[in-house]
Amino acid sequence: MIFKIAFKNVLSAGLRTWLNTFIISITLTCIILIQGMNNGLLKELTTNRIAEEVGNGQIWHQNYDPFDPLTLDISHGTISPAISRAVKKREAIPILMVAGSAYPQGRIFPAILKGIPPDQDILKLPFDQLTGNSPKGTIPAMIGKGMAKRSNLSRGDVITVRWRNSQGAFNAADLTIVKVFDSKVPAMDRGQIWLQLKKLQEMNLSPNHATIIISSRPVDELESSPEWIHKTVDDLLADTYQLVKNKSVGAGIFYMILIFLAMIAIFDTQALSIFKRRKEIGTLMALGMTNRAIVFTFTIEGLLYGIFAALLTTAYGGPLFWYFQTRGYHIPVSGDQYGIAISEHLYPDFSLGLILGTLIIVMLLLTIVSYLPARKITHLQPFEALRGKWS
């Protein structure tokens, strides 16, 4: 009965009901859409980085600092027998890094030469192309699309690189670009020139040396030693988590403002409705309805706005969410220019938990803001209500 009364009252409020419904619906849509984008961003960033950069964790040489290329010449060491066994079992890949300079078409720019076994299958990038043919006297090398664009290089181009080997002597060689690969992870592309590991070890006079080891198994399962530091997936993705967390904090403030505006609208509507309907409240009391039942009726009325809003959101938000989930949100500038591992299209992640969680939170808040003005009725005397008074 209470639902029926509340339903009739809400419908009879006409435009006021639809305005409230619209405001709550917009709030729901924005929260689900933005949070879906954030979830999609986190999913894409972590998936891409795990597939193309991080693996299942890494072991770093104790001197390795990814933010200081000048220390690369002291950041490599001999691969231990245990790690070598893991490499043979294809459970780990050693990567050697050497600081150098590239001279494409008479220009110069700094580059990090990276050596990787071409037959690895942990990172989902086409390093097997490093075994491809190159003109005699040149070394096959690969670069990413971003690097190719910035240095104006393409497949088949020959560039000269210069580096200082582990003995401190400068040396140079010509490389042939055998493949320009497409990576979503800027760290695998920007300023990187990829060579076969064995070749780079030869060039650097550091046989069986590596700077980092990428593992396909949880990194804790690999042998540890003071010279090598274990980095778990969470350690390596900490900056990504922090980035999304920062974005979520900003989005959270936006949600709070939206929810606050919607709740103000409902509170205002409820307070006005109760004030305007004092006589009706008195009549319901005279007919024998308890104060509690009347409070409950008004609370349900507020909640109905939320239910209508959820239906409205399903009607127009459903197709909108579906569109973004299947077509993705086009990012006007390519991801590597942001410095994050993202492709041209961001696919939001609208999980059931996100949708239900958002609905439950909004419904709960609606119930509270509907109850707050209605609870005054608990202390209202029937004769006062009938006279249209409020004690």
């Binding site: 005279a286 029937p382 004769f383």
Partner: protein
């Protein structure tokens, strides 16, 4: 015969400028089942306040009210609501019909509170509307009815649950003479047929002409209690 309502040594005061204003003072009354009585008096004499207290819509400052032997002045808010739901029907000066409901739904509301089945509700509603001659208006909303028709719907709503007592507060105040007589005749007919006790609060001579008992209230006290 046990009175349906008995009022004993009742006072009602309101605070006015740090002093107690006596709206009702030392009221002692008894109403027998089936009475067609009226509390009459000028504006501010305490008629509506007395009616509200007898209908458990308000509490006295002092004294007791018994409804069919039970002291209702000691009732909790929930018990008062149950009493009003089961045993008392109200008719108001401004009809107090719920505007968003049809005539049928306005009459259905008190029956829903009693937990009646759909078939029982329908029968009771149609019987009530027949008494007031509005069976053709079941689907109309209050805004589509005249003042007289609205008050007849209010009478039907008050009697639909067959209460022991119907309390009518100035039921003809908003009606013209013709409609007032129609309403009063309807209520008299219901009183004769159902045996429900009717208690009016009024200063309308047309109503007074129909009463079997007239209690005159002046400045919160009973001045005269006449039976015709």
């Amino acid at each position: 015969m046990e009175p349906v309502i008995a009022v004993s040594n009742l006072d009602k005061t309101f605070p006015v400028a740090n002093e107690d204003f006596f709206a009702l003072q030392n009221i002692n009354l008894q109403f027998a089942p089936g009475e067609f009585s009226g509390i009459v008096g000028p504006s501010g004499s305490g008629k509506t306040t007395l009616l509200n207290i007898m209908g458990s819509l308000d509490k006295p400052t002092k004294g007791k009210v018994y409804f069919m032997g039970d002291e209702i002045t000691a009732y909790s808010s929930k018990e008062s609501a149950q009493l009003r739901s089961r045993k008392i029907g109200f008719i108001f000066q401004t009809y107090n019909l719920l505007p968003v409901y049809t005539v049928y739904e306005n009459l259905e509301l008190p029956l829903i509170l009693l937990g009646m089945s759909t078939a029982e509700k329908k029968q009771a509603i149609m019987d009530s509307l027949e008494w007031v001659g509005l069976t053709d208006k079941v689907k109309s909303k209050p805004a589509q009815l005249s003042g007289g028709q609205c008050q007849r719907v209010a009478i039907a709503r008050a009697m639909v649950k067959k209460p022991a007592v119907i309390l009518a507060d100035e039921p003809t105040a908003n009606l013209d003479s013709e409609n007032s007589h129609i309403i009063l005749k309807t209520m008299k007919k219901i009183n004769d047929a159902s045996g429900s006790t009717f208690i009016f609060s009024t200063h309308d001579d047309k109503v007074i002409g129909y009463l079997k008992r007239k209690i005159t209230l002046v400045d919160g006290g009973i001045q005269q209690d006449e039976t015709f």
